[in-house]
Amino acid sequence: MPDWLKPGWLLGLFALIFIFLLAFTYEQTRERIAIQEQLRLEAQLKEILVAGSYDNEPATDVLEIEGDKRTVYRARLQGQPVAALFKTVAKDGYSGSINLLVGIKPNGELLGVRALAHRETPGLGDEIDLRRSDWVLDFAGRSLRNPMPDDWAVKKDGGVFDAFTGATITPRAVVGEVKKTLIYFQAHQHELFQ
């Protein structure tokens, strides 16, 4: 082999070794990673759903809404709809996107709202997190009739929802996204449970 080719071969050899190492690790962990993700999803759905109110596996009863970037998990009891759980994103948080889970009953009432992932300021915006404060619990039982759509805003914007001291942007984003989801649900309710 000519001398000038050796570095190339060596580099290729190293690349090959690490490709195999990574592929092997990936194969070994793939199943467990899938299980972990599924477990986390189920745990999140159970936070909102009332135990015993459904008899299917909502985590596997999935509807992906194309173009809208929402995922819907459906809970049913003997085939009848119990709740639609939307995984949705409020894009206008203070530090990027806030991933939300919004549970809605067939009558349009909110079952509950949870912040799944966010990067809001600790101590200020992170009160949307149930571990920090019970602010999100206020959503349960609300609907587009309670309050009326025009009042679906934080108090600072003339609505009915509390904002935290020093952080208006975060609750505003969450309230806005929950409202959007409710409106979406109202418009597409019949397709959602097919």
Binding site: T25, T29, I33, Q36, T121, P122, G123
Partner: protein
């Protein structure tokens, strides 16, 4: 470069040339994920694992390593191991993996790792390089833990919160909270707290160094303790 002995390597990694306090390398993860003890521990372990493995492989391949492609090989080795660590954490410490998020793949860019590969592992025997990788990682982890505990106690008024992410069930009982309503000083949970905390730690180390070297200063003029080592 002559081969250092074991105590040399320990002294360099843990104190004299500590990556967090003296070399000040890898500041990005050090400052970013040191907001709680458990985050710091997870990050420290991941970094130590990558650093030890990469030093091991670099030293192992020393006989065939060529000058012109060594940096490319280092990067390949480091990126490969970070990929492995990321997958393993994703599988076994899923929630911690979600919290540390982008900082796991960013271990690739941690200068300590390529720095040790270039400055030490590629010139030393296998055992010394592996030990050096582990000890440097340990030194980095200890600083992370100190900073993490400091910031968690002052910033959030808790310690070992979310320990179950790393230790499973029994970690639930490790968490210490300083009073129900204690919220801590927010500044320390935020990025400025990381800079202030690290500054304090560096200052404390310098004071200790100065105290230790006092007897000698009577006879010899000694330059500032950090500047001589920082370039290593």
């Amino acid at each position: 470069m002559s081969t250092p002995n074991v105590s040399d390597i320990l002294y360099q990694g843990l104190w004299k040339n500590n990556p967090g306090l003296v070399q000040l390398l890898g500041l990005c993860p050090l400052l970013a994920v040191s907001n709680t003890f458990i985050n710091a521990l997870g990050m420290g372990m991941a970094t130590t694992l990558v650093l030890t493995s990469s030093n091991f492989v670099v030293a192992l391949s020393r006989p065939v390593l060529r000058e012109e492609i060594r940096i490319a090989i280092f990067v390949l080795v480091i990126a490969g191991f970070v990929g492995v660590v990321e997958l393993v954490m994703n599988a076994y410490f899923y929630e911690l993996y979600l919290i540390l998020g982008i900082f796991i793949p960013l271990i690739v860019t941690n200068c300590i790792i390529i720095g040790r590969a270039e400055a030490f592992a590629s010139r030393q025997p296998l055992w010394a390089a592996t030990l050096d990788g582990f000890v440097m990682g340990l030194g980095f982890t200890l600083v992370l833990l100190l900073l993490g505990s400091m910031r968690e106690i002052v910033g959030s008024a808790t310690l070992f919160a979310d320990a179950h992410l790393l230790f499973g069930e029994w970690g639930q009982h490790m968490s210490i909270s300083f009073g129900e309503d204690a919220r801590g000083i927010l500044l320390f949970a935020l990025p400025p707290g990381a800079f202030i905390g690290l500054g304090l730690l560096v200052a404390i180390k310098n004071v200790i160094d100065e105290k230790l070297s006092k007897p000698k200063t009577v006879a010899v003029q000694i330059s500032s303790p950090t500047t001589a080592d920082a370039s290593a």
